[in-house]
Amino acid sequence: MSLSAPVAGLEIGTSRTVIAIGEASSDGNLSVTAFGSIPSSGVRKSQILEMTQARYSIESVLKKLEEQFGYTIGHASLAVSGPQVRTTSMNTQWQLERGFVHEDDIAEINARAEETNLPPERTLLELYPIAYGLDELGSIASPKGLNGNLLKLRSLCIHGATQRINDARAAAEAAKLEIVQPCFAGTCAANAVLTPQDRREGTLVIDLGGGSTTYTAWADGHLVYAGVLGVGGDHVTNDIHTAFAISRDQSEQIKMTSASALVAAEDGTIRVPVPSPMPGFKAASISRRALNTVVNARMQELFTIIRSKIDDENLLHRLNGGIVLTGGGAALPNVVQLANAVFGCGARLGAIVPEVQGLDKVTNVPPFACATIVGLLLRAATIESKPSFMDSFTGIFKGFFKK
């Protein structure tokens, strides 16, 4: 088993800036060999507001990787998230000359879809075919060999704000790190936790980030819907801060140690101590019921909004594989149960796919919270090493990623 050159991924999140390094082997596996992260500052809703801070964060993580793992890297792929990411459904047509669908016709219509002209302020991140159509027939997974005149392709275009992506690129380049490929964080997270079977059965992946929440729905083996909502764990912290007039640091600490996504009957009798700024101050506490009411209201709203979007697309009945939660927000106690209740189907925490090894040797962060960066490494390995590596993650749509 030979290893290819290391690949690196950068995620400038609202909570943390993360860089990971991995090495792909010829058997299609990926070994995570380095992981560095520090708390971010100057980032809101996954968007950089303070360039200098972002640069310092990246420099610090690079330094950490060098000191701790002996890596010096010059380029990386970038995970792009935040409400600036949008999805657009696109339709492409191709007139058949042979009277049936030849594989060249499929290649041609795919190529035409990739030539989508977005306005300059938008940058194409990824383009996924959803379904082919042939004359009056729709939703054909593989049209090759069928008779007809007009081949159609419906695809999902994921694009981001060029300026926001350039901000991240500039921050990285100021830290002497070249961005080779911006990728959508939502599909990265799904790459890390979905098996081909999950994609076939139909699964919704919700990545609960610090500044935003991404979601991708997969059915019949491929991506059918995606989106980003500019609400994340930062909002939960801010809600606690506002409700109880305590500092953000205290609110974050309480969220991490004492909050729950569900309100339990016994919460009414329990007080949660508020960390004191120093000994000697009068002890303070807040009602656990009140705390969990605040947190539950936010999380339930978040899931309900995503549920309504899935309902609008008439996708829920196709999600037989259930809901998979990833991201730091998935660490909130009872969040799986809440998702279960809102969506009415089985929810679980994301487990990293077996093709990825070594993550636990380089970080203590729970695997589900590393999904985006791990998926980004998988994507980077796909782009930088060999095309066949993509097969295990993108099934029949290999070669369709925007290079």
Binding site: G42, R44, L229, K282
Partner: protein, 369 residues
């Protein structure tokens, strides 16, 4: 991790800013990274403070003659003038006097530039005396708009209110007191950062606290003796700079610096926090930092308070509504909608609701206390 250079800069703009910077240096002593920016070469003095001449080609170091437009144009000629001096700087505290040419004209432009560099800005700007006439008052008001628009924190200090606190009619003494008040306020930031006490207020916490807070008010009080806390609180309560009316929006947060010698007692800190909570409401968020400096404050207790109202957020109400006309927010919601945390990020709207506002508030959920 790389060690950044000293990340706070005290910047005086215009002749008034130069006077304030030198006053602060006298109050604090050495160790502050400073810079004076003026169109008048005389503000450079004898080189005691780093100086940058603005508009050298356009104005030849002779000042603007009280014309803000000249200073604005001079800055626009060379917006990167200070970039080298700003290397490693992450927070800039600006002092200036409005009503004249350079402070009024260049400050807003500079703040815009600093914002693009990702530098957090806090500005203390004095407003002219009433007796200086309508023209200077109008010039100051015109300058205040872009300043408030572009600064993370802006504190406007009417000179009439500043000298009124001096308790003297003597002009020299009154002006000296006004200068001392500003110097005390600005000095706080360096003292709490350079000589932190048991409650540390480091540069990052300061940045996080100040970022996009909007318009603030500030005041200082000093007392000694066994009842020094009561005297300090009473002095703050009576201070015109913190005067509030029924129409004033509720106070959302207070940045408090407590400076004292080795005799500072825990019970005194507790009394200060309780006193401020009683004065400004139970919901107010108090960020506290202490300085224990026996040499400077032996036997004395100094408190400096920087107060932010909920509506400071709404210093830019038009911004909050931009592009999201569907839901009109009022009262507490409107105040919280731009509470600083998400003010500079794209708003999240769903079904005409602003999701940056806490859900429990939008749903009017009652909370056990």
């Amino acid at each position: 991790m790389n060690t950044p250079p000293q990340s706070l800069l005290l910047l005086g703009i215009g002749g008034g800013g130069a006077v304030l910077v030198r006053g602060i240096l006298r109050a604090f002593g050495s160790g502050i990274r400073t810079l004076i920016l003026d169109t008048d070469a005389q503000s450079g003095g004898n080189g005691d403070v780093p100086f940058a001449l603005l508009g050298g080609n356009r104005l030849a170091g002779r000042g603007t003659g009280g014309q803000p437009a000249a200073a604005r144009a001079a800055f626009q000629d060379n917006p990167a003038l200070l970039d080298t001096a700003l290397e490693g700087v992450r927070t800039v505290v600006i002092v200036t006097a409005l009503g004249g040419g350079t402070g009024g004209g260049a400050t807003g432009e500079l703040l815009k530039h600093l914002h693009t560099l990702g530098i957090v800005t806090l500005i203390f700007a004095t407003l002219p005396f009433a007796f200086e006439g309508d023209e200077r008052r109008r010039a100051a008001q015109t300058a205040a708009g872009p300043i408030e628009q572009n600064a993370d924190v802006s504190v406007f200090l009417p000179l009439d209110d500043l000298v009124a606190e001096s308790g003297t009619d003597n002009m020299r003494e009154a002006l000296a007191h006004g200068l001392e008040t500003i110097a005390a306020g600005v000095t706080l930031f360096w003292r709490v950062l350079e000589k932190p006490g048991y409650i540390r207020f480091d540069a990052e916490r300061l940045r996080a606290t100040l970022s996009a807070c909007g318009r603030g008010h500030f005041a200082t009080a000093v007392a000694q003796g066994p009842d020094r806390v009561q005297h300090v609180l009473a002095s703050l309560a009576a201070n015109r700079l913190l005067a509030r009316s029924e129409s004033s929006p509720p106070v959302r947060s207070i940045l408090v610096g407590v400076l004292a010698g080795d005799d500072l007692r825990l019970s005194e800190l507790n009394m200060i926090v309780c006193g401020l909570t009683a004065a400004f409401g139970a919901d107010v968020n108090i960020e506290l930092g202490t300085v224990n400096d026996e040499d400077t404050f032996s036997g004395r207790l100094a408190v400096v308070a920087l107060v932010f109202e909920q509506s400071a957020t709404a210093a830019h109400p038009a911004k909050a509504a931009e592009g999201h006309p569907a839901r009109k927010l009022t009262g507490e919601h409107a105040a919280l909608a731009g509470n600083g945390r998400f003010q500079r990020a794209e708003k999240t709207i769903w079904n005409d609701e602003d999701l940056d506002i806490p859900t429990y508030l939008r749903r009017s959920l009652s909370l056990d206390r």
